[in-house]
């Protein structure tokens, strides 16, 4: 296992201070390892998560080669050549587990942002004190965007939130966490070849969720209630003016309708399975939108001092020199099995199951893919040897 930094590196270096995991403690289930504390329904802070992963690495004696950054992966005569900043490795098989969130995805209109505006990605953001006093535009209303909008607005910096396609969910429904419902109804385990349009399912924005001690719902209505201003998707920047799409009402209608269908699914399942000791069915009020949300903000007017791009993350495959990428730079795979023999990918959204990108999804996917990998190697187990490794990695 080659790790560019320490175990849980991206959690140690690329997350904001207040972040908690979006899945409850009980759901961080890894093979032979799980939560054994007193707060199964709570949400781990980032330091707690780092400790959890660190401990797992020790419990399973994971052969982690830390502080070893992969610089290139190429085909070789016998398989694959992995170049790192600490020597070369050769292998017959490879598992790419670098995840889907290596860099922040920023819209092209960033080029048109005037220089007097501070811009940040969520990977650079730590806490509101980093930001100048004054208004903040948060672009994007998925999990990251809604969390940063709330925290920054509460710091006294008025937030405007640009809202495109989003997935609205309540944290708690009928007394149970949304993740309990996803798990219990089997939605989390749904296979990638069981959905109508897997390409679309893999592109779905993250659910609007936050992990808090109070287990609060953080939807657009909750943000409006504290004074966050909602505008349409950021459509462009022209002459120092932010332009917002007039589609906000429909984006919210789509999310409200989708939420209604999800809750219908849950209610039906609960009825059919005779689930007891849960609250009655309920529906959330529609997302409230003002009659004419602003379509434009002139940055020169000084209302906005900072822009935060909560517009998603992308994998970084700049080091991957084997032909497994499509024309948009994404790995082509069938449930984690790539077209290059012996090369597998893990931890991407809906890779094999809806839960594939969650900690809870790693075990099942690893089991499936290691079976395939073992068959590829002829059942003889992994052959993975270091080629003249440097000895200073300690």
């Amino acid at each position: 296992m080659l790790e560019r930094g320490g175990v849980a590196n991206s959690w140690k270096t690329e997350r904001w201070d207040s972040l908690r995991l979006l899945t409850p403690n009980w759901q961080s289930r890894l093979p032979g390892y799980g939560y054994d504390g007193a707060d199964p329904d709570g949400f781990r802070t980032v330091p707690e998560l780092i400790e959890f992963i660190d401990r797992y690495a020790r419990v399973i004696s994971a052969p982690v080669q830390t502080n070893t950054a992969v610089t290139a992966v190429k085909r070789s005569d016998s398989g694959y050549l992995v170049e790192t900043d600490r020597g070369e490795w050769r292998s017959k098989t490879l598992v790419l587990a670098t995840g889907a969130c290596n860099r922040a995805s920023i819209p092209a209109c960033v080029e048109a942002v005037p220089r007097f505006i501070q811009t940040l990605t969520p990977m650079q953001y730590r806490n509101p004190e980093q930001l100048e006093p004054g208004g903040v535009l948060v672009v994007g209303a998925s999990a990251t965007g809604v969390q940063l909008a709330q925290e920054i607005h509460r710091s006294g910096r008025p937030v405007t939130l640009a809202v495109g396609e989003h997935v609205r969910v309540p944290r708690i429904y009928r007394g149970k966490d949304i993740q309990w419902w996803m798990d219990a109804t089997g939605l989390s385990d749904q296979r990638y070849n069981e959905v109508d349009d897997i390409t679309r399912a893999r592109r779905l924005p993250s659910m609007q969720l936050v992990g808090t001690v109070e287990r609060l719902t953080l939807d657009l209505n909750a943000l409006s209630a504290i004074g966050v201003k909602l505008v349409g998707r950021l459509a462009g920047i022209r002459d120092g003016r932010l332009q917002f799409s007039g589609s906000l009402r429909n984006q919210c209608a789509l999310a409200d309708l989708k939420l209604g269908r999800l809750l219908d699914t849950f209610d039906l399942w609960a009825r059919d399975h005779g689930v007891e000791n849960i609250g009655g069915p309920a529906r959330l009020p529609p997302t409230a939108i003002e009659d004419s949300p602003p379509l434009e903000i002139n940055l020169a007017a000084g209302e906005i001092k900072t822009i935060i791009w909560a517009t998603g993350y992308r994998p970084d495959y700049s080091w991957l020199q084997i032909p497994v990428l499509d024309r948009k730079g994404q790995i082509v795979h069938d449930g984690g099995i790539t077209g290059s023999p012996g090369v597998y990918v893990m931890g991407l959204q809906f890779l094999r199951r809806r839960k594939s990108a969650f900690i809870d999804g790693a075990g099942d996917d690893a089991r499936d893919l290691s079976n395939h990998l073992q068959a590829y190697l002829g059942g003889s187990g992994a052959r993975f040897e270091a080629l003249a490794p440097t000895q200073d990695s300690g």
């Binding site: 429909n250 789509l254 309708l257 269908r261």
Partner: protein
């Protein structure tokens, strides 16, 4: 959702559309289209526009015949009212695009439509176009569309049809988002 043993027919060939989607996913160059219109001034505010050719699937294409549209201003603007106003044509474009989308989405979702009608209103303060008040924009303050739909579906499914149609509509995108326009002379 209608059951699959009842043939749903909204007059939309969904198989052809899905086939085109698959083919164009594999050959994205063929997805590059260009739509065109020609416009000729007649007299006063009256003009006549035609559409006939367009480009798509890698080659020149043609409508089955040339379609013609007269545009003018009404008599209260001291014009002869020989056609719809251009802004009304924009409303026509939006309503017909959304309506076509509703039929296509309904067909794809197995929903039989019985009737679909829409009214569409664009509010405008003409102080903008007359140059009376520079704070008033030329275009619409806002557009309101109201659909009356009778279909074999629940109210939520019908709402979802209309929402999905907006999500996939070219004209909805054109009127809700900015577009670069370049106008050259001679």
């Amino acid at each position: 959702m209608a059951s699959s043993d009842i043939a749903v027919d909204n007059g939309v060939n969904v198989e052809a559309l899905l086939g085109a989607r698959k083919a164009l996913t594999e050959a994205p160059e063929a997805a590059k289209f260009q739509w065109r219109a020609s416009c000729k001034w007649i007299n006063g505010t009256h003009s006549n526009s035609t559409v006939e050719g367009f480009f798509g699937l890698g080659t020149e294409q043609h409508h089955r015949k040339t379609f013609s549209f007269d545009a003018d201003h009404p008599e209260i603007f001291a014009s002869e009212d020989k056609g719809a106003t251009p802004v009304e044509l924009v409303l026509v474009g939006l309503a017909s695009c959304l309506t076509a989308g509703i039929a296509a989405v309904a067909q794809n979702r197995g929903i039989q439509l019985r009737s679909v009608s829409a009214t569409i209103e664009g509010a405008m303060d003409i102080q903008g176009i007359l140059g009376i008040d520079s704070d008033v924009r030329n275009g619409f303050d806002g557009i309101k569309v109201k659909y009356q739909i009778d279909a074999d579906a629940t109210p939520a499914e019908i709402k979802a049809l209309v929402a999905q149609s907006q999500k996939r509509s070219a004209v909805f995108d054109i009127v809700t988002n900015p577009t670069n326009v370049s106008v050259e002379v001679n």
